[in-house]
């Protein structure tokens, strides 16, 4: 019996050891592409590998609360990182805004979206894809923007809702919805659309999409990665990917 206990304790003692030096980071879906670029540059600079796990902010919040083994988290809003802070489940003082998201009206067809507001008002489309406002920060912003334009009610029967901004983009990309309100980061590279045509929604149509990051465990490489993201090189990459940086 005691031998079994000894074996168990040895095994358990080995688990963190196998993770030593490995950085695991949870990242909101909309930031996936940008985070890959950041991780690549960080690895070039320091030789340190960073493993990224993508998902919706709501899901990741639940996973982190239940002890998921991430050392840092890039969320899609400020609300849930603040909740973590209140609950004391993160390294205190590590919460900061790493990017401000912008919303675009996008179509994969070039030249289709010229005057975006006019297109929304005319409503000569069958489907407009938005992220689910109940679940996704970009969905909430889409709802606020349409409410500001006074179109939320009249467009109800044409809205299709993706469960996150990734799926919303997919609905438009495959042509099943002609238009979608998606993240600027999904459409723009260095200020140019990767495909199709877009309209950048005026920032005053919705509350700012403040995306915040937190350090969950005080691990040296994770801390270095956050510092890299907040630094000059990191900010340049984030800016090039269609976000604003504070």
């Amino acid at each position: 019996m005691s031998r079994l206990l000894l074996m168990m304790s040895l095994l358990i003692g080995h688990i963190p050891a196998s993770w030593a030096g490995e950085v695991y980071i949870a990242v909101a879906s909309n930031f996936a592409e940008t985070a890959r670029q950041l991780a690549l540059q960080f690895e070039k600079k320091t030789g340190q590998k960073v493993r990224l796990s993508f998902g919706s902010t709501g899901k990741q919040y639940a996973q982190i609360r239940h002890g998921a083994p991430f050392q840092a988290w890039f969320a899609a809003d400020a609300r849930r990182p603040m909740l973590l802070e209140k609950e004391g489940r993160m390294v205190s003082g590590s919460r900061f805004t790493y990017a401000r998201g912008r919303l675009v009206l996008w179509s994969p067809t070039p030249g289709l979206v010229d005057d975006g507001e006019k297109i929304l008002r005319q409503g000569s489309f069958r489907h407009l894809a938005v992220a689910n406002p109940r679940l996704a920060p970009y969905g909430l912003a889409a709802r606020q923007a349409l409410e500001s334009l006074g179109l939320w009610q009249s467009l109800q029967d044409r809205l299709v809702r993706g469960e996150n901004i990734g799926q919303t983009f997919q609905f438009v990309k495959t042509g099943n919805a002609e238009l979608g309100l998606v993240a600027a980061s999904q459409v723009l590279r260095d200020g140019m659309p990767v495909q199709g045509s877009y309209w950048l929604l005026p920032a005053d149509l919705h509350e700012p999409i403040e995306q915040q990051a937190v350090l969950l465990k005080n691990q040296v490489h994770a801390r270095e990665f956050l510092e890299f993201v907040a630094g000059e090189a990191g900010r340049a990459i984030i800016l090039a990917n269609g976000y604003e940086v504070p």
Binding site: G58, N132, V160, R161, G162, Q167, Q170, T174, N176, A177
Partner: protein, 226 residues
């Protein structure tokens, strides 16, 4: 307790499951009969295709459907040629997805049932002068009845619990494509646990009662193994 939207979601689920099961019984019966009787060398290819939805993640099926139904895909093109519109985000699209997704749950029990009827009763009927059609309807079908019951229930229940495919091609439109599983998921993700609990418990009870009724009936049927 039950919001109007949740009731609408449940009714939509029942409608979807009912219609899907009906279509699958009509398509699946001849297919299962052929699979049970055919001596074609490459029959196993078709069997593997029928079984595919059992192993494919629904998200894969859903993603392919989304591509196929889109304006660039084969189904989308066909629909536009016929003057129709894209089937994604419509109830019809959900029916197509569910028929594919629940296919093995209907075809396989039917195929097994037809196989277990065996050749002997059919041969006896033939020597007594019954035509092939007559033999099928008066011998094979009644003997395969337990298989039909199993196929109906599995097809219905599987569609009722469907989630991944609908999530991919439905677009979560209340009253049109928001089925019960999506409504529950929505509530859970939005931390509205109480509403989620109510409908989840309701669905659990309903499903259990449905299966209970069927297995009880199945015991009393002729040809059922007791």
């Amino acid at each position: 307790m039950f919001a109007e939207q949740d009731v609408a979601a449940l009714l939509l689920s029942l409608k979807l499951a009912g219609l899907t099961t009906l279509i699958l019984l009509m398509l699946g019966t001849p297919l299962a009969w052929w699979l049970a009787r055919s001596h074609w060398r490459y029959r196993y290819v078709l069997e593997a295709l029928v079984a595919l939805p059992l192993v494919l993640p629904p998200t894969v099926l859903g993603f392919y459907l989304l591509v196929a139904l889109g304006p660039e895909g084969p189904v989308g093109r066909l629909m536009e040629a016929l003057g129709g519109s894209s089937l994604a985000f419509t109830f019809a699209g959900l029916v197509i997805g569910s028929v594919l997704y629940s296919l093995p749950f209907v075809v396989q029990p039917l195929q097994n049932a037809f196989q277990s009827v065996g050749l002997r009763p059919m041969e006896v009927a033939a020597t007594l002068g019954a035509s092939p059609v007559d033999r099928f309807f008066s011998i094979a079908l009644p003997l395969a009845r337990p298989g039909f019951l199993t196929a109906t229930v599995l097809g219905f229940a599987h569609t009722l619990g469907e989630f991944g495919v609908v999530l991919m091609i439905g677009g979560n439109i209340p009253g049109r494509t928001q089925v019960i599983s999506i409504a529950i998921y929505d509530h859970v993700e939005a931390l509205a646990y109480e509403r989620a609990h109510w409908i989840a418990a309701g669905l659990l009870l309903f499903s259990f009662l449905l299966l209970l009724t069927v297995y009880r009936l199945n015991r009393r049927l002729p040809g059922a193994r007791t």
